[in-house]
């Protein structure tokens, strides 16, 4: 497991109390969000057993969210005020369902179950590493321990149910989902890279093209008087216009 190989890194990430607190708070948000997606899944599935399971899964995730947030706040309160470690290393130590994006309404149960199974498996892998490196923080460790038990249940039921709803093709569905994950992470990376490049080009334009216009805009602003401005007296400015 690649994730396992970074155990010393995780030990370092989790050793700082404030960083740990913020991580737990953020994990709390992610678990709660994941729970909402599952609620949505339970509301949209036509399969009544899946509805019950998704809902129970959602309730688990909500509880995880509460547990993480409560512990994060406990740690924060125990710290001296004013301490501030800003580096969160989020990309190195992601949360349970961290980088997964999910359009629940658009997924058939088969794809959703495969997706959930893989997410839960990832989460369980990560959380077991986090639990192991937290030997000095017993309460937080106990939380990971408890959550891990749920994640294992989630991992198992999603697989069992996938085999039920798709007895012939569940193996293929899982492989397809794995490939889709790789494709999606590529797309995410490409989009991020695109945004960085776009941002760079726009920043260059900002400094090259904008200065004279900025000067004009500032001059116009100085002429504006504060307070009320009259509304243009044409009440029937054509509604076809976008400006």
């Amino acid at each position: 497991m690649i994730f396992e190989m970074f155990r010393p890194v995780h030990r370092w990430i989790w050793c700082d109390a404030e960083r740990r607190a913020h991580k737990l708070l953020r994990f709390g948000e992610t678990e709660t969000d994941g729970g909402r997606d599952l609620v949505r899944a339970s509301e949209t599935t036509p399969d009544s057993l899946l509805r019950r399971l998704y809902l129970e899964h959602a309730i688990d995730e909500h509880r995880h969210g509460v547990m993480f947030r409560r512990r994060g706040n406990e740690i924060l309160r125990s710290l001296a005020p004013g301490s501030n470690s800003s580096f969160q290393a989020d990309w190195l130590a992601p949360s349970g369902h961290g980088v997964d994006d999910l359009r629940v309404d658009e997924e058939p149960d088969e794809a959703l179950l495969a997706f959930l199974h893989l997410s839960e498996k990832n989460a369980a892998d990560r959380f077991s590493v986090y639990r192991d490196v937290l030997e000095n923080d017993i309460p937080t460790r106990a939380i990971f321990e408890e959550i891990l038990r749920d994640e294992v249940f989630h991992m198992n039921y999603t697989l069992t149910q996938l085999a039920r709803v798709s007895p012939q093709r569940h193996g293929r569905t899982l492989w397809y989902e794995r490939l889709r994950r790789i494709w999606k992470s590529y797309l995410r990376m490409a989009a991020a890279l695109g945004a960085v490049m776009g941002g760079f080009i726009l920043t260059v334009q900002y400094f090259v093209i904008l200065p004279p216009f900025a000067w004009l805009a500032k001059r116009a602003e100085r002429r504006e008087s504060p307070g009320w401005a009259p509304v243009s007296p044409q009440p029937n400015r054509p509604l076809q216009r976008q400006y």
């Binding site: 709660t32 909402r36 057993l49 776009g198 726009l202 920043t203 900002y206 307070g227 009440p235 509604l239």
Partner: protein, 600 residues
């Protein structure tokens, strides 16, 4: 004539359909997509509206977008130029945001709906707010005051409207205050500073204000100054919302008010720090009220009208609305159920109908129920499939039974008819409970809403009994129709209405007329016969961070995930059994053993 109104791309998108001058339906995208404050182009909402009216898009005479996107883009660009070079970090993001789908609205609408671009119209943002406020109110002539964060350029506008005897309609906006000078942005900046979510948690600032004293009014007045002509300007040195996207207040702001609150940290009002935050909220609230009252008073003197229609997101501030009613000189103040941008979808469609197409004036039904219906049969199906105890009862038995439940201290999820338009549950998607004990408030906060504790719950009372329990000034009942005002609970009742009385002795009461929500009205009376007080706690049917439920299945999952004891939808009543949660896990174990045995 069939006109579709659309609002999108800022916060809380929505669609509304007006046919022959009367609204037929309207719904916010978040209620369908289940993403709170969903600002994306409201395809699901549009689709639902068209399906509801059995229309194909090509049957639409016009699609009206609630603002002018190019004018908005001009404002964003101009602000970036004015803030040069400090805006260098925000500029790429602002351009990437705006140059995405936000500017090409005409293209998006015509590509999604296949409507020719000549049928796509654009109103101005504050015209939409003004129309949503004035054309839905039961008044023929009124002054209009709209306030929000920002539309294109305007952040506040005043004017007047008239529905003439000859059927013509006029809406005239006289003058406006322009970005970045904005009461909405001021309040949102304090919302962010106090560690709450902007565009969502402004009501928490109002709730928190009740716990504080306005000790920092002088500081707030340094941040927002009145101009000699009666308007105001923000001292931009205290703000950053116009230059960056990361933070709305500046270091100078922090110097003036102290360190901001960490959003994760609960507010402890016992500590000096917690009290400072409450005082800060009370101070900005006071300045907001003073400014609005002043502007409204001038508008009253200028127009000589007796009615005022309020629009824009700031009109959700019930405390300010009540002061406007009491102090500005207007006799009646109307606030629509959705004064914010969602309501602009309806406003834009009505504006086009009356002003652009010159269609004759029509009365707009005076209720907020424009969304999808709640289907009790669906609840019965879900309950049957999941093995829950449920009953299907006739109306009067159901209402008597529900009154018994409430009197016994049970919390009831109540779904009835069409969904409300706007952020408030006004009797069709509500969580109802007995309003008497503080313990009930705490239980709702802890087990059902999962949220901060300083926010008061609202009561609902029948119009016949309202005066007995609440100090309503003339015009107060109207303002309370859609929970748009905050009024004192009469002293002698405060103890018996403890779950809905805020720390300052007030409540954001809904005063209910029978015709608006007959079943809830009957329930209030039935409850009154049991408890002696025909008042119920009425809070929106959702959990913290989630949109109000729409379909029955959403009510059902909310019921299952929270401490709600009884769920009523249509004629169906569902109660919780001992431990429903254990069952699904058991089922999996069973289905696994079935699999194993069938494999053998």
């Amino acid at each position: 004539m069939k006109i579709l109104g659309v609002s999108a791309h800022y916060h809380d998108s929505a669609a509304a359909l007006v046919i022959d001058g009367v609204p037929v339906c309207a719904v916010q995208e978040e209620r369908l997509s289940r993403r709170k404050g969903d600002a994306s182009f409201p395809l699901s909402a549009i689709q639902w509206c068209l399906d509801h009216a059995c229309l194909e898009p090509d049957a639409l005479d016009a699609v009206v977008y609630y603002e002018r996107p190019m004018l908005k883009f001009e404002r964003i660009l101009t602000c970036a130029l004015r803030a040069f070079p400090h805006s260098w970090r925000a500029f790429p993001k602002a351009m990437q945001n705006s140059l995405g789908e936000r500017v090409w609205v005409r293209g998006i609408i015509s590509s999604h709906l296949g409507v020719p671009s000549s049928r796509i119209l654009f109103t101005e943002h504050h015209q939409s707010h003004a129309a949503a406020a004035f054309l839905t109110a039961p008044t023929r002539r009124a002054a209009i005051l709209t306030t929000d964060g920002v539309g294109e350029w305007a952040t506040l506008a005043v004017g007047h409207g008239e529905r003439k005897p000859d059927g013509n309609t006029e809406i005239t906006l006289l003058r406006e205050i322009r970005f970045p000078h904005s009461l909405g942005m001021l309040y949102s900046t304090f919302t962010a500073y106090l560690g709450f979510a902007v565009n969502e948690d402004e009501y928490k600032v109002m709730g928190l204000a009740g716990y504080g004293r306005p000790t920092m009014v002088d500081q707030v007045r340094r941040v927002i100054r009145r101009t000699p002509d009666g308007a105001f300007t923000l001292d931009l040195g205290y703000f950053e919302f116009h230059t960056t996207t990361e933070r709305s207040y500046s270091d100078r702001f922090v110097e003036l008010f102290g360190p901001p609150r960490n959003s994760y940290e609960p507010i402890d009002l016992e500590t000096a720090e917690g009290q400072r935050f409450a005082d800060c909220a009370a101070s900005v609230q006071r300045v907001l009220e003073d400014t609005l009252v002043d502007i409204a008073r001038t508008l009253h003197q200028e127009t000589g009208l007796t009615d005022l229609c309020l629009g824009g997101g700031v009109a959700l501030n019930g405390v300010a609305n009540t002061r406007i009613l009491a102090e500005s000189g207007f006799e009646r103040v109307f606030v629509p159920s959705a004064p914010g941008d969602a309501g602009c979808a309806l406003g834009a469609a009505l504006y086009a109908d009356r002003i652009h197409f010159h269609n004759p004036d029509r009365d707009v039904p005076d209720h907020p129920f424009w969304g999808p219906p709640a289907d009790g049969v669906e609840l019965a199906r879900l309950a049957r499939e999941d093995g829950h105890r449920f009953e299907e009862l006739d109306d009067s038995t159901l209402i008597e039974q529900t009154a018994d439940d409430l009197a016994a201290g049970r919390v009831v999820g109540w779904m009835d008819g069409a969904l409300e338009l706007g952020p408030r549950a006004l009797g069709h998607r509500s969580i109802l409970a007995a309003p008497h004990a503080v313990a009930m408030r705490d239980r709702l906060n802890r087990d059902i809403k999962f949220r901060e504790e300083f926010r008061p719950f609202a009561p609902a009372v029948s119009i016949e009994a309202a005066d007995r329990y609440f100090e309503l000034p003339p015009g107060g009942a109207r303002l309370a129709r859609f929970m748009s005002g905050v009024f004192p609970v009469r002293k002698e009742w405060r103890q018996r209405l403890a779950a809905v009385t805020h720390v300052d002795g007030t409540a954001r009461v809904q005063v209910l007329e029978h015709d608006m929500a007959p079943r809830l009205h009957t329930l209030l009376e039935a409850y009154g016969r049991r408890s002696g007080i025909p008042v119920l706690l009425n809070t929106s049917f959702n959990l913290a961070g989630e949109p109000i439920v729409n379909r029955v299945v959403e009510g059902y999952t909310t019921f299952r995930r929270s401490g709600i004891d009884v769920l009523v939808a249509g004629q169906t009543r569902l109660t919780k059994r001992a431990s429903p949660l254990a069952n699904a896990k058991e089922e999996v174990t069973c289905s696994r053993s079935v699999e194993r045995s069938s494999a053998r």
